[in-house]
């Protein structure tokens, strides 16, 4: 399929079908000082939050699941380790909720876009699919950040807060962990858009990425072959920084997050090319 030469008033592909007036391909119209691509991105973020922020599945993923995992971690911690909530336990547990909710929400969002047949409209807009996918991804990351305070409140009530709790690392690390996770799971968004969906195909991601992210134990505690794989993921570096490593781990995490984001952008752009050249049906 070729892009619409005019594209005026097309839907943004974010499921509402209301459109944001993203302008023509030849001369993008600007509205409120924001480019068409930027407007599409912002609309995708807000749509994501509006549609899924209060879904039972999201609340289950971001609160119930991390608290159970934290309980398991706490119960297995023996003498010599803090019995109170430490910063790494709080962020790691929240990270499990973030991971699960980002996977579920991104899957629902992308399948929704396919089901509502809004992707070809987005393809005809000046920014194409990239701002839609990145907007949805940012929305899921922002939404998953709620696991950070939510989990901490429950854990604080259950186990109390450790005296050496580093609030700065908890906050910065927690927020970075959400975006790092979203950048990695962004590749799933591309896979869902590109290939036919098979029921259950994403179920294994939680277990796999959880192990590789070193969320509940340091990377050094993982089996040797898994340790090396964990280095590829930005989450393991975020967790290493939260556990007291130097700023180089933080830099590595930021760089890898950027790398995965770039990978998502390139993959989606290649998908656009394939769709246009080969008339690939996006709504299959």
């Amino acid at each position: 399929m070729t892009p619409s030469p005019t594209g005026t008033g097309t839907g943004t592909g974010t499921g509402t079908g209301t459109g944001t007036g993203t302008g023509t391909a030849a001369a993008p119209r600007r509205r409120g000082g924001r480019s068409g691509t930027g407007a599409t991105f912002v609309r995708a973020v807000t749509d994501q939050l509006r549609m899924h922020a209060t879904s039972p599945m999201a609340i289950f993923s971001t609160l119930a699941m991390p608290c159970v995992f934290a309980f398991v971690v706490h119960a297995n911690a023996t003498d010599g380790f803090s019995r109170h909530t430490t910063d790494d336990m709080a962020v790691g547990s929240a990270g499990i909720g973030m991971l699960d909710s980002i996977i579920v929400l991104l899957l629902f969002s992308m399948l929704g876009e396919k089901q509502w047949r809004t992707l070809h409209a987005a393809l005809g807009s000046p920014g194409g699919l990239v701002p839609v996918v990145l907007g949805r991804l940012t929305g899921t990351a922002l939404q998953s950040v709620t696991a950070l305070p939510g989990t901490l409140i429950v854990l604080g009530l259950l186990f109390g807060i450790d005296g050496g709790f580093d609030w700065g690392r908890w906050l910065v690390g927690g927020v970075l962990l959400a975006f790092a996770t979203a950048s990695v799971i962004g590749l799933l968004g591309f896979a869902v858009l590109r290939f036919p969906f098979s029921a259950g195909m994403t179920n294994g991601l939680t277990g796999l990425v959880m192990a590789l992210s070193a969320l509940i134990v340091p990377q050094s505690a993982l089996p040797a072959p898994v340790q090396k794989l964990a280095l590829i993921l930005p989450q393991s570096h975020v967790m290493a920084w939260i556990r007291g490593a130097g700023p180089e781990q933080l830099l590595a995490a930021v760089a890898l997050t950027g790398f995965f984001c770039a990978l998502v952008v390139v993959a989606v752009q290649r998908l656009e090319t394939t769709v246009r050249r080969n008339a690939l049906p996006l709504e299959a």
Binding site: P56, V72, N76, F81, G207, L222
Partner: protein, 264 residues
Amino acid sequence: MRTPTPAPQGGALRAALRGAALSYRALFTWFNPLGYLSSRIVRPIGMAIAFTSLATHYGAGADRMMIASSLLAGAGAVVYGMALSIGNERSFNTLGAWLASPQNKVAAAGQRALPHIVDGFVGGLCTYLVCALLYMTLPIGVPQYALLLAVGVLTTAGFGLTLSAVALLLEDLFVGPNMAELVLMVLSGTLVPQDRLPAFLVPLSRAMPLSHVMEAVDGLLAGRPHGTPLLVELAVGGAWALAGVLFVHLAARRATTRLALGTS
């Protein structure tokens, strides 16, 4: 007009197995290469790696946690499979036809559990073997582990029957199994040993599937006899199955009424 004749005994067994296989193909939506691999193999192995690493990090050794998380992998497969095999009737809009059919719903739920019990056994065994390779240790022999796993998935099927009843009533198919998996994680004595649970949760834990299998595992690892806990486990599974029979019966009646009233 043909009159139905009672099937011979071997024929009844064949029919039951054929029904189980058909339900698996039709209602177990993860029965595709990617879905199966992801749900039944990758997910439990990933979880087992995380939990076994947790145990080794805190100095408890890999043995107990490796067995526990592998047993939990088998149990999880049974719980999700049984919920899907009933709940998907609603997803595929066939719930009304199924409820209206003369088939015994409790027997049907039991029949549909069969492939998932086998599946749980396979998944639990795979998880154990992969973890054994990763951690270079085999805490107990494969035949001994297979016996424990077989008892574990059987008793979990009793628990799963209760969840089948929940799947008949709740519109969101995954609420029941998701919650059940978390409950099993905390209360089954697998990931959290019973002596580390708050005292008020211990009686509840003893009524959960897998808790007595874990007692047998602890006995086995300590070189104690472990036959009695397995018998108790089977009794717990039987009690859950009885409760499940009652719940499925009641849930099927309630679901039929709701469908008749057009509220579901």
